[in-house]
Structures are given as structure tokens and as C-alpha cells.
Symmetry: none
Subunit: 252 residues, 2 copies
DNA sequence: ACGGCATCCCCCCATTTCTGGGGGGATGTT
DNA sequence: AACATCCCCCCAGAAATGGGGGGATGCCGT
């Protein structure tokens, strides 16, 4: 796993790609795709602006050596919402081989089509490593081998699972580190009280109730909520509690 | 990593514990705690009840060889909401050593107290492996070594990071597999409109704004929000949006 | 073809809560 | 002394809550 150091220190998306190629190659997988889904975290807009078609949509980011034609087809068809590997990745944190998908829960016709069409592009044997990130993000690292027999691939996968997971985690971190064009302005610092108030608000309590819980007055709760909301750069408690949860300040 | 097979096949919490003890021991860590946090999916309580004991609080499930007195103290004090290792775990998917927490972002006094008191119980050197599960669940595997020097521990940790991650993931899966008394029952069915309204509310829009976005009247938005809030078993939009996010109905 | 059912849309009301400003003062720490 | 944090209070206008009342589509099974 010598290539991993490079992954940790990668300074561009391209370097991540090269590092992945080398690392995964040494594990016996010759193509891969890394998919990153990220909810677009709030811009600070007070005056109402009607959102454009794209605004607010989940962002899919690709980094892949899968056949270009397939990737293009995939995006064009909006397979991201159907892809059975993605569906499965949402439900587990363990790597899995694509072979294991057919048997367990039957695939819908749409899902089967994704698989069938992938096979036409030479992607028949593969495995997916799900990465559930903070802020409810989900990424998958998909690896595939174009040549060889299935038995060989499965042995390769079984032997390499642990390494694959580590690679996936490192990739996710490297990717996050680099794609932070809007790096959240570095997670704001909330005071203990602001956290407390947001926490209990997220748990459905009114300001008065939070006051009772924390043994302070409703006014003070409102005061802390106002400050916390402002720090988070939003304009309502609804948005503030969601953002506080997404940024990991509180666990509701 | 011979003990891992046992972890994958464990059929009781106790077996997980034994397997962890053995595996982590071989990596040089003599105590551990595994904490599984699960937001308490809905009790329907309207009348205000002071949440002195468990009500509304995140459910922490423990499996640990940490000193009993410490665990008890931890739970009693509700440290789960403050614990800096937990705060940090919420923000990353990489394992980290407790040593790295002090420097980066200064701890609040409440957080520092958790650390100081932990040290009094013999927990000074340690590392945390965060596991972000599906449905926004978070678990941490905390390992510690009571004897030895700090330098030695850090070397141990650096060398074992990859193994620790794998152990943590396997533990999480084993734990989930066994503690699946209530796997999916909480998830309600929302209509498209209810989802839409909750989504844009979670993004900080008022009911009127959501109406503009969806091209329906504010009244209708309120209507859908009322229904969605009721379906989710809560009594305010704050709680509803948080819950909708946690249950994966919407991605803000 | 019919009723039941879910979904979606609109409107009204009284009451409570939140928002976003302002003004204080009390602790601590740096 | 400056600073952050925490606590309390006031106000006016906006928004949410929790009820009620309609009607409009479809889709289902009988």
C-alpha cells in the first residue's frame, strides 16, 4: 500500500486519480469510479430568489476510469437515482461485490437495465465500497476488472476488501479536502449554550421549553438561538437546526 | 487479524465483546468502548415533560471495557452531548488520536472537563474511529492503552489505523445485525408534496417562499407541512425537518 | 360505473411562537 | 482592560400552530 501516502498528500483531483489508478491496480482492479454525492449547503440569501432548476439539487461528482461512453450514458439517463449499487451503498457500510446484489433482493426492471447495460460496456465484475461521510454525504468507490474470470475476481476482492475500504476512506478525505471550493468558511464555533439551545430545538422543543430544560429564561434561549442562527449564517431556526445537524454540532 | 472471522460471525453482544477484546489486544490496545448513537425515533409527547432522565436524549448503547465508574459517570452526566471525541467524530471519517484534539480547535470548558475527568479514570491516551452509518447513525470505537508511554501508543496507533478501521466497521455491522430489534419500523410514508415542502423548509425558506418555489399558495404549503409534521410524529417544523433529514426523506 | 381512498389544492380563524432589533449586567479568561 | 460568554428584559411585526371548511383529480377493487 505504498501508493497511499500519495493519496493522503494529493494536491489535485488528477493526483488523486493517478494515485487511485496505481493503488487499485496493485490490488488487481484495472478500472474504477469514485462518485461523490453532496447536498448543496445553504447560500446566504435572505431576499427571496426563485431557485433555478439546478439550484438545490444533489451534486454528483465523478472521478473515473470507467469507459467514457458508459459514464456519459449513465449521467444522461440519470442512472444515479436508480443504480442498484448506489441503492445498496445507502444501506450498508460494508464493501460488497456486485455479484451479491442480484440474489438478495430482487432488482427492479430499471435496476436490472443499469446492470445489463453496464455489462455491455465491459463492466460485469465489480465491487462497491460505500463511504458514508459526515453531513449525510454518501460516496462510493466502484472497482472493476475487465479481464480474468469471475472466480479470480472474487478471490481478489475478498483478499483486498480491507485495503479497498482504506483506499476509499482516504480517497473520500482527499476529495473532500480538495473539492472544498466553498469550505464552509470553516465550521463555525458555537458556544456551549448555543449548542444546547439548538440541540433541544432540534429535538422539537419550543424556546420556552428549552428554557425550562436548561433552567434559564425563554428570553435567554431566544437570545442564544438568535446568535447561533446568525453564526450559522442563516435566517430561521428551521435552517439553523438542520445546518447544525449537518455540520455535526449536535445530534438530535 | 485472525479474530475478525469471529467478529463477522458473532451471534451475541458478548461474543462481539470477546472478539473485540482479543483483536484490539493483539493490536496493542487493552481497553475499548464502542458507542452506538441512535436518535430516538419518535415518541409523541406534546405536553412538556422535563427531560431529566432519558426522554428525547440520544440513545447511546455501550459495549466497553472502560472502567465501569467512568461509563456510569459519563451517562449520568449526559456527556454524550458534549464529549469532544464525539464532536470530532461527527466531522470526519478518519480515525484520530485523542492527542490531536486539543491543538486544532480549542475545546470549550465543558469539553475540556470531559477530557480531564476521563484522565482521572486512567483514560489519557486513546484513539477514536468514527463510523458513519446509513440513516445518519454515528458510532465510535474508542481504544485506549492504560500502560506504556505516549510515544509508544502513537506508534501503535499509526501502525494499526487501517486495522482499527476495519475492526470498527465489522463491529458496527455485527452490532447492527444483532441489535436490529427495530430495523425500519419508524419510517413513515410522505407524499411528494410533503417532501417538497419539508425540503425547502429545511433549506430555510418560509412557507410563503416555498409556495412561490412550488407555485402553490402559502396556505397549501402550510397544509402539507402540517400533514408531514403529523406523519413524522412531531409537533413543530423544527423537529419535522430534522427528522425528515435524519430518516433520509430529504437531503437539504 | 360506482364508491372509497389517497393525494393534492385552496381558504378561514384564534392563539402562540419566532424574528430581529434594541437595552442592560454578571462572570470569567487573556 | 478587553473580550467572550452567559444571563435577563423590551418591543413590533412576521410566521407558525392547530383546528375547521371546501373541491379537484386520479386509482383501486367490487
Amino acid at each position: 500500500m505504498a501508493h497511499l501516502d500519495a493519496l493522503e498528500r494529493a494536491e489535485s483531483i488528477a493526483e488523486i486519480g493517478a494515485s487511485l489508478q496505481a493503488t487499485l491496480g496493485s490490488l488487481g482492479f484495472d478500472t474504477y469510479s469514485y462518485v461523490h454525492v453532496r447536498p448543496p449547503l445553504g447560500k446566504r440569501i435572505r431576499s427571496f430568489v426563485p431557485p433555478s432548476s439546478q439550484d438545490g439539487r444533489v451534486v454528483h461528482e465523478f472521478l473515473a476510469t470507467f469507459p467514457d461512453a458508459w459514464v456519459e450514458h449513465y449521467i444522461l439517463q440519470g442512472y444515479g437515482d436508480v443504480d442498484p449499487t448506489f441503492q445498496a451503498a445507502m444501506g450498508t457500510i460494508l464493501p460488497f461485490s456486485w455479484r451479491d446484489l442480484g440474489g438478495r433482493n430482487d432488482l427492479s426492471s430499471g435496476q436490472r437495465r443499469v446492470f445489463d447495460e453496464a455489462r455491455d460496456f465491459g463492466l460485469s465484475m465489480g465491487a462497491t465500497i460505500p463511504i458514508h461521510g459526515p453531513e449525510s454525504g454518501l460516496s462510493t468507490l466502484n472497482v472493476s476488472a475487465s479481464g480474468g474470470h469471475e472466480k479470480e475476481f472474487e478471490e481478489n476482492y475478498q483478499a483486498g476488501r480491507q485495503d479497498l475500504l482504506w483506499v476509499a476512506v482516504q480517497t473520500h478525505e482527499a476529495f473532500l479536502r480538495l473539492s472544498e471550493d466553498a469550505p464552509e468558511q470553516g465550521r463555525v464555533r458555537l458556544t456551549d449554550r448555543e449548542r444546547d439551545c439548538l440541540l433541544w430545538t432540534a429535538r422539537g422543543k419550543t424556546a420556552w421549553e428549552v428554557g425550562q430544560i436548561l433552567a434559564i429564561s425563554e428570553e435567554t434561549v431566544l437570545f442564544h438561538l438568535k446568535n447561533g442562527t446568525r453564526k450559522l449564517g442563516v435566517f430561521s431556526k428551521h435552517h439553523a437546526v438542520v445546518k447544525a445537524v449537518m455540520q455535526g454540532h449536535i445530534i438530535p
